[in-house]
């Protein structure tokens, strides 16, 4: 089975293909701009937004710094409340724990609440291999599942589909969908409601993730919109929640910060329609068997990097995706991981080095819009640069950088190299000027914009997607010597 958080292709190749899909780009443009504007409106309503962000960032950092203490506190509180806590080192172990629990509940079908953790570990595929059918109940996840596609956004996994595409999918692949189904969103939602109702009412096992785990009380929190979450958390006899170890917050009070930040950042609403908080088992109200699977799966290796560990603060709001100029053009699939966009570019390569994840930190212009939008103040550009610096580099690039370092470490050597480069570039400058003339623009002598469009191999790797600047004219030092003589 392929790893859901490992990019199967290098990002530039995948992005190149996606850029050619005009329908995709139109869908993404519309969706990301709608949600951006909504987010800005509701964020502007809170005068203390920046203070909430600062508190959230500190809360997450504090929780990380005493993670062993908080996890064991959570385990003790949840256990005392009647839950059973399991631990899983990696995806395979987590899937095996869940499959065993489903089997011992005697079920062959489960209903699922949308959860990034279960996608990350490839739970649906693992359950299928164990003969257990998992039904995604979030509308967008259902669309993706029916299409046998993969999610392309953290919050709106079917963001790459428009209404007509969804209607066609429902008509052909969803049991019981009316033949005259229109592409009106309320009609589509109604069709999904009818399709899932029977499953909810008969399911004996529900599977969820959690947005937060409260150490103090042993409570789990699920934030959702449709009510499918409440169905899965309330109706089945057995509930299994898969939770990353970084989800723990110290106290119940801390939720006052995150419950303000998360809905406004994710869907651009003042509050999402439903938030459920439960603590172990409540006799007569909800599931009698409550299981919690705490998952590492690369989180502890991420934690070991003092710069990169802030990626673990992420509350999966997806605000960074919606403001990212790269995401907006290529969509989530180009990143090849269930965590796409700016946060995916720093999270996926830290969680696993498999596949082409090392290409992901380059999937950014470093414009910083993601950092501004992040409700928990993850400095994504800082981590991107850090991962670029510490990641592997091609041999040619390393050799080039070593040569540059040698040249630039001595003033005379550097000046001589500049002169040589200028002389060497003279014919190129002639070519560039002739090309500019053909385009109808004549740059003046020493114009900084003098560029060349194509360079021979290996420098063609640079000019494949951008112009190369020609070496500048005389340096200040040279100009001074010419005008005033040697001082």
């Amino acid at each position: 089975m392929s790893n859901p958080i490992a990019a199967p292709r290098p990002f530039p190749a995948a992005a190149h293909d996606k850029l050619a899909d005009r329908q995709l780009r139109a869908n993404l443009h519309r969706a990301t701009h709608t949600i951006r504007d909504k987010r800005l409106r509701v964020v502007a309503e809170l005068p203390d937004w920046q203070r909430l962000r600062e508190a959230a960032s500190a809360l997450k950092a504090d929780a990380k710094s005493r993670l062993p203490e908080l996890l064991t506190q959570f385990e003790a509180a949840a256990t005392a409340a009647g839950a059973t806590v399991h631990w899983a080192r990696d995806a395979a172990e987590a899937c095996a724990v869940v499959a065993d629990l489903v089997r011992s509940a005697g079920a062959t079908e489960v209903v699922k609440v949308k959860s990034m953790a279960t996608q990350e570990i490839g739970l649906n595929e693992a359950l299928e291999a164990a003969g257990i059918a998992a039904t995604e109940t979030d509308l967008a996840e259902l669309i993706v599942q029916l299409a046998e596609d993969t999610p392309s956004h953290i919050l709106v996994p079917a963001i790459h589909y428009n209404r007509t595409q969804i209607r066609d999918l429902f008509r052909t692949r969803m049991a019981g969908a009316p033949a005259d189904l229109t592409d009106d969103p309320p009609a589509l939602a109604e069709a999904a409601r009818r399709h899932l109702r029977a499953k909810f009412l008969s399911a004996t096992v529900g599977i969820s993730g959690a947005n937060f785990a409260v150490a103090e009380t042993g409570s789990l929190v699920v934030v959702e919109s449709e009510g499918n979450g409440r169905m899965c958390l309330t109706l089945p006899q057995t509930l299994i929640s898969v939770v990353g170890i970084e989800k723990v917050v110290p106290t119940f009070r801390d939720l006052e910060v995150f419950l303000q930040l998360l809905p406004r950042s994710s869907t651009g609403e003042r509050m999402n329609p439903y938030t459920s908080i439960w603590t172990g088992v409540t006799p007569g109200d909800g599931p009698e068997n409550v299981h919690i699977v705490l998952v590492d799966n690369g989180r502890t290796t991420t934690l070991a990097d003092p710069v990169g560990r802030q990626a673990l603060h992420c509350i999966r709001c997806s605000a960074c995706l919606n403001v990212c100029p790269v995401y907006e053009r290529v969509g989530g699939h180009a990143y090849g991981s269930v965590y796409p966009g700016p946060i995916g570019a720093i999270l996926s390569p830290q969680l696993t080095g498999e596949g082409f994840n090392r290409t992901l930190p380059y999937a950014s212009t470093l414009c910083g819009a993601c950092y501004d939008a992040c409700p928990v103040r993850i400095n994504i550009p800082e981590v991107l640069v850090h991962l670029r610096q510490t990641g592997p580099h091609p041999r040619a690039e390393r050799a080039g950088m070593r040569a540059m370092s040698w040249l630039m470490s001595d003033r005379r050597r550097y000046a001589a190299a500049l002169r040589a480069a200028r002389r060497g570039a003279a014919p190129l400058r002639l070519v560039a000027r002739r090309a500019a003339k053909r385009r109808g623009s004549v740059p003046s002598e020493g114009d900084q914009r003098e560029t060349v469009r194509r360079l021979p191999w290996p420098l063609s790797a640079w000019t494949a997607s951008r112009d190369a600047p020609l070496p500048a004219g005389p340096t200040f030092r040279e100009w001074w010597e010419k005008e005033h003589g040697r001082s």
Partner: protein
């Protein structure tokens, strides 16, 4: 060594011998004066129906909200005086038996509850399974939920509301408008799996 010990060891190794302690600045707003008009405005924005009344008109407002209800499902501890003007069929959860999912899923069922606390700034109702709210399934399966909120239960913001909860380990449900989705082109559509209609009756000491 089991997974638990391995993971805890990995975390300790990752953090090093002396992890940096972090102080949490809590300079955001925590108190504030609850604004009933703001609460109503937020609810209307979610397309919830809102009725405002004084304590003496509550029973009449309840009866009005239940005009098209065939069966009314109520939690065990719902105050009897809320129902004095309603003459339709009433089934009480747990009396004589807990209501089944099929009971609640029947057409024309309305659930009537109170709430533990409400939040003005976000238009949120918080249910904590108290006697006038009951089990979570009661406000989930029926297609229509009517909730009575007394003005004194409305908190200004989220911090104030969480602080007012008597016991955070009870099953909590935060409800902000009817069930909704934005999964199709980010267009908000009300009514997916939860109740498609949410009505809130706000009771103010001096009437609306």
């Amino acid at each position: 060594m089991g997974a638990r010990e391995v993971i805890l060891d990995r975390i300790r190794a990752a953090l090093g011998p002396s992890p940096i302690r972090v102080e949490v600045p809590r300079e955001y707003r925590t108190g504030g004066v609850p604004d009933v008009d703001l609460f109503v405005d937020r609810l209307v924005d979610y397309r919830a129906a809102v009725r405002r009344c004084g304590p003496n008109d509550l029973a009449a407002a309840v009866a009005e909200a239940l005009a098209d209800t065939r069966v009314l499902a109520v939690p065990p501890g719902l105050p009897g005086e809320w129902l004095t003007a309603y003459h339709g069929e009433v089934v009480r959860d747990g009396d004589p038996r807990p209501l089944s999912v099929a009971d609640l899923d029947a057409p024309g069922v309305t659930a009537l509850t109170g709430c533990a606390v409400a939040i003005a700034e976000t238009g949120t109702l918080v249910l904590d399974a108290g006697p006038d709210q009951g089990r979570r399934v009661l406000t989930l399966v029926p297609d229509h939920h009517v909730c009575v909120v007394h003005a004194g239960q409305i908190a200004a913001g989220v911090p104030d509301a969480l602080a007012r909860l008597a016991d955070p380990t009870r099953p909590l449900t935060f409800v902000s408008g009817p069930s909704a989705t934005s999964d199709i082109e980010l267009d908000r559509v009300e009514g997916v799996h939860g109740p498609r209609r949410l009505e809130v009756i706000v009771v103010e000491p001096s009437g609306p």
